[in-house]
Amino acid sequence: MELSGIIAYLVSLAIMAGIYAVFSLGLNIQWGYTGLFNIGIAGFFCIGAYTSALVTTPMPKGVYAQYVHQLFGLNMPFIVGLLAAAVMCGLIAYLIGIPTLRLGEDYLAIATLGIAEAFRLVFNNEPWLANGPRGLMGLPQPFQNLVEPRNYNYVYLVIVILVMIGVYIAIEKGIRSPWGRVLRAIREDEISAAMSGKDIFHFKMQSLVFGSMVMGLAGALYAHYTKAISPNVFTPLYGTFIIWVMLMAGGSGNNKGAIVGAYVIWGIWIGTKFATDLLPYTLKARAPYIRFLLIGILLEIILLYRPQGLLGEEKRVSKWIE
């Protein structure tokens, strides 16, 4: 392979890992700082991606309209798609939070899991909504005229990195504020936080909504990167499980860890692809399962032997305390 090919490949890797890093940061708000057990990330992934797709694509016209059905197409700019994705995910998180956040942490897990499966079913079975299992194609990409198409990934990498840094700064600010300290207090000991006069339900809700909005951003970034989405992308494996492994590997409760984890695990994931390419032909069809098996075993090893992850949680909580 030529050098330029290798660099292009690394850039595409960095974009996907960057998108996953945004997911991992969103999950870090919920799990790392508040202890909310969201195992339906794929649902927010799906909603974020579809919302942005519907907001930014034009309504199909002419012959095209016979093949593509969608509820609406607003033909808005990319940034509006991103924001709409975040708002929509926040709204859905709020609705899930109402019945579950007053109950034990398992209930939120089961409910988020259910909502992720339900969204996939709806997008698959309702062709009028977003073209059913065939999904939507031809999503617009921002600043497309800036460079040649073959160099476009560099532009998108910059966009992803900027979003990632923006989210990172926002979470760091939030978490080092009194608000962030309440979240951590809730995670450590709900009852004592409540006895200090903190409204547990509302703080948990804010954390759930904030984290889900970040996940919506990431879902939209993914949609405009691949330019085509269909419901079967958003499976529990690619949409939820791998993100959990990223956060646990990097270190939950640490935003740098969330980013490092995303890059490390995505690197391992791609690396195992090269390894399974060496397998005999008959086993190749099963290669993705072997790779996920390894990722699953990795998660168990982390949980058993290094639950704090690579970086672990930072102890410093305020910029005033050294």
């Binding site: 202890g35 057990f37 195992i39 109402i98 019945p99 579950t100 007053r102 109950l103 942490e105 398992d106 209930y107 897990a109 089961i110 409910a111 899991l113 259910g114 909502i115 499966e117 339900a118 079913l121 709806v122 698959n124 079975n125 529990p236 494996l237 499980f241 959990w244 646990m248 069809a285 099963r286 399962y289 072997i290 996920f292 098996l293 990722i295 699953g296 075993i297 998660l299 168990e300 949980l303 058993l304 639950p307």
Partner: protein
Amino acid sequence: MLELFIYGIVLGGIISLGAVGLTLVYGIIRFANFAHGDLMTGGAYIALFLVTGLLSWIGVPDVIFSPLSFGVRMVIAFPIAMFLIGCVAIITDRILFKKLREKKSSAVIMAMSSLGAAFIMRMIILIIWGADSLFYRPGVLRPALDLPLHVKIRPDQIFILVAVSVLIAALHIFLNNSKMGKAMRATADNMDLALVSGIDTERIIIWTWGIGGALAAAGGMLYGIDVQLHPYMGWNFLIPIFAATILGTIGNMYGALVGGLVIGVAQQMSTAFLLPTYKPAVAFVIMILILLIRPKGIFGGSS
């Protein structure tokens, strides 16, 4: 409608077998076991290996109990698969959950670990058998019996109802009459009191996993007989069995039984109005409604 109701009872029976095991684990070991659905899948596939592989190699005759769609091999495979999946559940506990308990990890970490275990089990099944749907006996005709009131039912479905009833009755007798069963109920009620009374909780935990796993395997095999085998079958059962468990109050075996039947009937009846693919979503909506109205389930005290 009556027909759908009866199909719902059949599906509900299978859900109940999963839910009863889940609620026992939930009540005694106190975490949400997300691997329970995949134990069901595991049971179905081990039976597949026995029926189409091992038992035919060692020369067990392929006699079918007409009009049922299965025969001698399945009757032999059924208890073996239940036993093996019980062992798988116990081994998973020894490898993962026991260590996490000793490290005093929280229930959420154990639930996450079970999610990982679920994925590992499913990937092993996918690596060995691939992603296609499979049958215990492909191509066999399965005519339905015409019952009064325009109800068509397959003999297999009647068998499933009988099998579920027998398994639940056996569990009922075990829990009420054996020493181990009584100790299990005591532990579910109050673990500290059970410890003080000299009950060996580690032994209870082993029995709980064994029974939970075996019942899940039975549920998976019955679903395989009724419909088909698929690597994601158990995962698709996860929401219904959690819904049944919560509906019937976590830790309450009879509640899980009732919950399973209610969810199964609701799922089948919904196919009169909705696409059948929405069945998991129906269970999910019921679960959300229970959480809103009565989060402790029908057999729990008011919250």
